[in-house]
Amino acid sequence: MAYQIGVVTVMAIAVGTAGSLAAIGFVEAVHYLNDRLLISPYARVQADNQPGLVAAATLLVPALGGLLVGLVVQFLIRERRGLAPPDAILAAQTPGPTPGLGSGLASTLAALISLGSGASVGQYGPLVYLGALFGNLAGRLRLNLRHQRSIAIACGVAAAISTAFNAPIAGLVFAHEVILRHYSLRAFAPVTVAAATGYIIANVIFDRPVLFLVDFTRVEHSYEFLLFALEGVLCAGLAWLFVVLLKYSTHAGRRCIALPWARPAVAGLVVGIVALWLPEILGIGQETLRFATIRDAFGIGELALIVTAKLALTALCVGFGFVGGVFSPALLIGILFGALYGMVLPHLVPVPYSGLVVYAICGMMALASSVIGAPLTTILIVFELTRNYDLTIAAMVSVVFANVISYRAIGRSLFDLDLRDRGFDLSLGRDKAILGSRLIRDYLSTIYTTARGSHTVEAVRKRLVDEHRAEAMIVDEKGVLRGIVRLQGILDSPEGTPIDQLAIRAYTLFDEHTSVWQSMELLRGFLGEAVPLVSEDGKLLGVVPEEAVIRAYLEIVHELREEENEAA
């Protein structure tokens, strides 16, 4: 017991420290590259007397960055795509193999180049994956802890978010809400330790201004909560549009450019061309994010233009294979949209308002929470960064309405959509997803009765009686399943009839890829003893008794409940 608590705590601190330091290093490296490559306004203004240089950098840096990203993804990442939060979720939820350390580091490098060269992608996705990478490493140590891997991954992710946002509670909740999907005390305790570690490290050595600092006293009028709710609904629509654009851009990329490694370069070139005229869309856009909360920084038309451009270019960059997240772009698009909403409202409904800031923040959190499926996390980010109760409650209303709608329209999050495409469907909860990811093959029994098609009814009947079974599998000389025969079906048949003639041809069948969930679905209306399981070429590998399917279900669900209810 003491061993458990001690080891878990040490692991949480170690993973938290690694995740936090990696997050700091990553963010600093992105800033360094942005300054060196004339992406950040701070660097661009200092080269103001060389307009040719700035224009050339704007045009070429994202394109060349894209080319490098394409090559890294193609040749250094085994999965041939950037690794992202869905990979972290999968690694925490299922015991299967995970992308290797080499792939993880190469993916981080690709993300660094993407962000460093000004592509319109986010930094938090790669940070989450980086945290998960350290968690995964710790998960491999022989510490003899239960659910070691998932807890360690959650620790790494919590520390990364806690550091990046300077918001430990949000980091803690994010790890549970998005990665673990349950709240057991056993996971909660170490994840809290890791999040706190990240926070402490961030405070000691990380010298970046927080994501947003706003000046807001309180919501002046109660009717504004209706407007926050409406804003949430509109943001859900925007999230839906974002997902549709992303899907469309991914397809367009595959259709139009045959070479996968060339796609990011093309997206980079487009980013560069647009940035010549609209520099706000380059990179993470911290300055633009700040301006959104300042009255009069933008005109209405300008805001609408930047929202549209950023939305389209983020979909382009992510769809065409730049490596990076969607959370930071969603935050930026959301805050700009919120500011736009706050500016347009007084023209539509002429009543007093509490100012632009609250609408901007509501938009930011509503859109971002719909995209990453983390309403609690986003509400807590507002709370931890502003420590303002009124602002948090306003954001909460928007976030909840956005999530209610977007959940129906697009699903819980972009991550879950991605996982569903990869065959891990969390839309009906963890039970279904885990049952869907475990194979019934693991419950295979090789004790069954076989017969050849040429065997007579009498011979088969005798063997079934001897072996106390009611079913026999009919296979040919190569072991391929030809049919099954049930004792009740051959009781009255003439003794000499070849069994082949009496075989049942339509029956329930599992294959090597049948999951526990599918096997349960297939068993509806099943009356026999056991279901045959065949290989891809039809060879009988064994049978799965009905009892085994029930056992599989009970075991998995029991395991999940146990994980979710474990004490420290």
């Binding site: 950040s40 306004p41 701070y42 660097a43 661009r44 203004v45 200092q46 103001d48 007397n49 201004p209 600092l213 706003v214 000046d215 520099p279 706000e280 911290q286 300055e287 700040r290 301006f291 300042i294 009255r295 009069d296 920084a297 933008f298």
Partner: protein
Amino acid sequence: MKRPEGRVYLVLAAWLLSPGFAGSNPTGEQEAEVLTVATWGGAYEESQRRAYFEPFTAATGIAIRTVPYDGGVKDLENHLAAGDVQWDVIDMIQSDASVACDRGLLEPIDPGIIAPAPDGTPPQEDFMEGAIQPCFITQIVFSTVIAYNDRAFPGEKPDSVEDFFDLKAFPGKRALRRSPVGLFEWALLSLSVPREQLYDLLSTHRGLELASRRLDSIRDSILWWRSGEEPAELLASGQATMATGYNGRFFHARVMEGLPISVIWDGQLIGFNSWAIPRGTGQAEQARAFIGFATQTERMAAQANLISYGPTRKSAQKRIGLHTDMGVSMQPHMPTAPAHMDNAIFRDHHWYSKTLELREQWFQNWLDQ
């Protein structure tokens, strides 16, 4: 054991015995030598005279003459372009010195001329980071602050940068330095931009636009000042109700002259002044000797006890006590006093030195509008 200051006196002695010195007096007559220092006038220059110039003359026999200088690189450039270099030492804002150094307007300075602290701490550790540069030595921390005439606002007193832009609550003229320094920081700060992000936002076109529009709101109430002593005068005479200016000058007006001037520390713009030597001066050796003398711990502390500018070396900071004449405690008047640091802006010297032309052009455009 040799006193730490001994090294400086050695430098001085070496110079006094050098052939250059002997050569300048071929007749052997003790012709009074004069070193020309370009500096900022008023109470600040007075503090320099007492802490540096007079003791230097006493120690070396070299008289000090001052010429007025109000900052910027252009004045130095013009002076050097004229051919006959008269300025031997110049007291520059750090970012200007950095630009001047890059443009080759300054003589190199050997860090060996700087004396260690009295306890033997080497200068590199005693001075704040980045103070000792190849062609300038950063010596004081000063601050540009907003001050107001206390009698102009008998009721509620202004206490923030935002109030500076609030003509309704705090009516009256605003005195601002006619130079693209500080204006845009305060304009954005008054819009609740956090100080950490000021220079990031000011690097964008939108940021400068926003600052322009903010300044437009007080355009008709602005009085411009150029030299350091003017703001206190404008406040004292009632011509302006609020003014930006150097904290030491306001300190002098309040404490030494008893004028009703109060300082708002919110949004104070912290900057640094540096000693430098214009390139081409015939008295570079004497200038180096002067800088070596003026950067000694005791001398820097002596200045800090005359005017509220903070010395950049720790050993001198520890010697700040009561004002030499008035007996007022100096620490609470220093820009770096902890209570003043909550919303202090550290002037980004790197940004300043790289955006000289942009700032000037922006300022001119705004004035022409």
